[in-house]
């Protein structure tokens, strides 16, 4: 079927990476719960992308910053599939726009790979020996909110290790990508204050998970470099917006 044709990305080429600002469009397919499609048009190229795989999804009232890589995946929504992809809700307002299914099946919901387990599920104790290690959490643009089914999973993994390793001190460093960049013809930069907000929020999270506030020190950095971390999914710019949790012995 034409609608299910592969959005082909030549196998020999590295996947296309895109970064743009736009207003999102919701396509109301109905393949059950959470099955609707989120589409985003890059105005510079005229291409329409499917950004439904983002862990934190758009709000049709607001502009979004799209950062993603084109995937070899069937077109189930009416756009080139981006996966991995991040969508950050921005302050700029949009006119709501919803498309009907128009024959697109949408995406049947399945649990994402970063889905935190219930408390009742036993966590495997990470084996020692333990030495200095850094865990990272990643954020949306200008946001300190720990993303559901992403940051909670990463935090759960970190706290499981920290509880087993019992580090002497923990350094929480919040970063803000405050260096201006031009995206879709617009200069954007994170507020420097978001670095502290992120660090304090993660500190609060660690305390709520049983870590003594006294062993945590908080730092900020407003000129972060990207990191090559598997949980950043290769999204270079998004990897700047993070908190490092460094466990020291």
């Amino acid at each position: 079927m034409a609608l299910l044709a592969m959005a082909t990305v030549a196998a020999a080429e590295p996947p296309e990476t895109v970064r743009f600002i736009t207003c999102p469009t919701y396509r109301d397919t109905d393949a059950g719960r959470k099955s609707g499609c989120w589409l985003a048009d890059d105005r510079a190229t005229g291409r329409r992308y499917d950004v439904s795989a983002a862990p934190s999804k758009p709000d049709w009232n607001h502009e979004i910053l799209v950062e993603g890589k084109a995937a070899e995946a069937p077109d189930r929504c009416g756009g080139i599939v981006l996966d991995p992809v991040r969508t950050s809700v921005l302050a700029g307002t949009c006119t709501r726009h919803m498309l009907p299914a128009e024959g697109y099946p949408g995406n049947r919901f399945s649990l994402p790979k970063r889905d935190v387990a219930p408390m009742a599920a036993a966590r495997a104790v990470p084996p020692g020996p333990y030495s200095t290690r850094t865990f990272r959490l990643f954020f949306g643009f200008d946001s300190a909110f720990l993303m559901y089914q992403y940051d909670d999973y990463l935090l759960d993994r970190a706290i499981t290790w920290i509880r087993a390793a019992k580090p002497r001190t923990i350094v929480v460093t919040g970063y803000a990508a405050s260096g201006p960049e031009t995206v879709s013809g617009r200069a954007i930069a994170e507020d420097e204050e978001i670095a502290r907000d992120r660090a304090e929020r993660v500190t609060e999270a660690l305390v709520r998970l049983g870590i003594d506030r006294g062993i945590i020190s908080v730092r900020t950095d407003t000129r972060p470099r990207p990191v090559d971390d598997p949980d950043a999914d290769g999204l270079v710019e998004a990897s700047r917006r993070r908190v490092d949790i460094e466990a020291r012995f």
């Binding site: 919701y26 219930p118 559901y148 929020r201 709520r208």
Partner: protein, 491 residues
């Protein structure tokens, strides 16, 4: 389990317009200070059938028990507003009966919160119209809010009074004097293990691990009280004693422990429907015994589907009369509609923001009402359905109206200015993004405790369904609405 004979008896008693079921105490009303024994099982006739109340661990002598004893000056006890026959809540119908029985002298109508405002003439029925008509008590919250540990909370919004029909948001009762008055239904004190259960370590609505009880340092479920101002039964008790009971001194640790023990042993649910019969026969697993015997805190989507207790009724039992068969089939369909009929959920904080599900997101009732057996939220359940916020709320001229102005970031869906009859969770957190969020309601024993929603605006279960249908443009068919009502009536 009710046997067939008992059911028939219950039916005949209902037909005689008696309000008590076959094993009910002689007096439905549990007056404070009465010397009675709370039985291990009590059945009460309600609007659609029979409510059952179970007390696990044996009967309880209520004489001198702090839940049943008036400890404050106004003559009330906890049981005054948490009546067994009303599923441990209090229906507007019961309030009206007490007014008629006592000429308004019952401690239930205490000026402090059982009237629309203490400044009104207390002998006038009209001064208690919110309790009599909508089952609402006045809840006086501090303004600005205070943190659970006692420190001040700096709100990120201003609050002004746009409408004050009873004068209780003016003068010494108004924000200028450090107070805000809202009006809310009492929440049922039963099935508490479900409301206290913790399924996951994280609160996805807040983007943080669960909050900690300031006293014990342990994580809390976040599912107590409409505005989440108390997160443990102890904290709830202290709040209630200081306000509803007007108790000036602290309750003793011994009394609090006895109340918690009682509250932890009480289970209520509908046991039988007048048309559908007992809810725990023919393979069905309704009723409070199932609640008492099940593990709390399980997510229906990965375990026992919500309201699958009635699955066995999908196949009609041989010899079932047509009316009973039709009712049971309707309940089963209602459970399917509840779980499977999806619609677009829009502009609801706690769902569409900031959690990241997207705005809109397609899902069903069970998206939020997701806990097996109970239908409350496994995560802390603070959500803005629009029951109190304009433009989604129905016109409610009998309630105050507040004008909220967000000082920092605007509310994600309402903008800078919000009109609300109850800021809800925002009166606890001080955040404008939380205006109108109300902790999800318990869904058990509904037939015994109308009206519904925190502000009592839904006079019956059909009005609940109609509100959702309007709010989210669901487009339920008439059949689906009836099926949902029938389902909810047997929970």
């Amino acid at each position: 389990m009710l046997g067939a004979t008992t059911l028939l008896l219950a039916g005949s008693i209902a037909a005689r317009a008696s309000r008590d079921g076959p094993t009910a105490p002689a007096d439905r009303w549990w007056a404070p200070g009465s010397n009675r024994t709370f039985p291990t099982q009590a059945d009460y006739a309600d609007t659609t059938g029979t409510l059952r109340v179970l007390l696990t661990g044996g009967p309880l002598a209520t004489k001198g028990h702090p839940f049943f004893t008036p400890v404050g000056p106004n003559g009330r006890a906890c049981v005054t507003c948490h009546q067994p026959a009303d599923a441990m809540s209090l229906s507007a119908a019961t309030a009206t009966e007490r007014w008629q029985a006592t000429g308004g002298k019952d401690p239930l109508f205490a000026a402090y919160d059982g009237s629309n405002c203490p400044t009104l003439p207390q002998a006038d029925r009209a001064s208690h119209s919110l309790l009599l008509g909508y089952g609402l008590f006045r809840i006086q919250r501090p303004w600005p809010p205070r943190a659970a540990k006692g420190g001040a909370v700096t709100p990120d919004f201003d609050i002004e009074i746009a409408r004050d029909p009873w004068g209780c948001n003016s003068g010494k009762y108004g924000p200028g004097a450090g107070n805000i008055s809202v009006y809310r239904r009492p929440r049922p004190l039963a099935n508490m293990k479900y409301l206290l259960a913790i399924g996951f370590a994280y609160d996805p609505k807040q983007g943080l691990p669960l909050a900690l009880d300031p006293e014990t340092g342990k994580p809390v479920s976040g599912n107590l009280m409409a505005d989440g101002r108390a997160s443990t039964l102890d904290a709830q008790m202290r709040d209630a004693a200081a306000t509803h009971l007007e108790l000036l001194e602290q309750m003793t640790p011994t009394d609090m422990a006895r109340i918690v023990d009682f509250e932890s042993r009480i289970y209520t649910a509908q046991q039988a429907d007048r048309t559908g019969g007992a809810v725990d026969i023919a393979g069905a697993e309704g009723g409070p015994a199932k609640l008492a015997n099940s593990q709390a805190g399980q997510l229906g989507s990965i375990g026992k589907p919500v309201w699958s207790e009635f699955e066995a009724w999908e196949k009609p039992a041989p010899g079932l009369g047509p009316a009973r068969a039709a009712f049971r089939a309707s309940v089963v369909r209602g459970a399917h509609v509840f779980r499977d009929k999806t619609f677009l959920i829009t502009d609801s904080t706690g769902i569409n923001a900031p959690i990241g599900f997207g705005n809109p997101v397609r899902n069903s009732c069970v998206f939020c009402h997701n806990m097996s057996q109970m239908g409350n939220d496994v995560a802390p359940g603070q959500v803005d359905l629009g029951t109190t916020n304009q433009p989604f709320a129905d016109p409610m001229p009998w309630l105050p109206l507040f004008r909220i102005t967000c000082r920092k970031a605007p509310h994600p869906f309402y903008g800078r200015v919000i009109y609300t009859s109850d800021p809800g969770y925002a009166l606890t957190t001080g955040r404008c993004a939380d205006v109108g969020k109300i902790t999800l309601q318990s869904l058990r024993g509904l037939s015994a405790r109308a009206p519904y929603f925190s502000n009592g605006v839904a006079k019956d279960l059909r009005a609940v369904v109609d509100f959702y249908d309007r709010r989210y443009t669901i487009g339920y068919t008439e059949q689906e609405k009836r099926d949902l009502v029938n389902l909810m009536s047997v929970l």
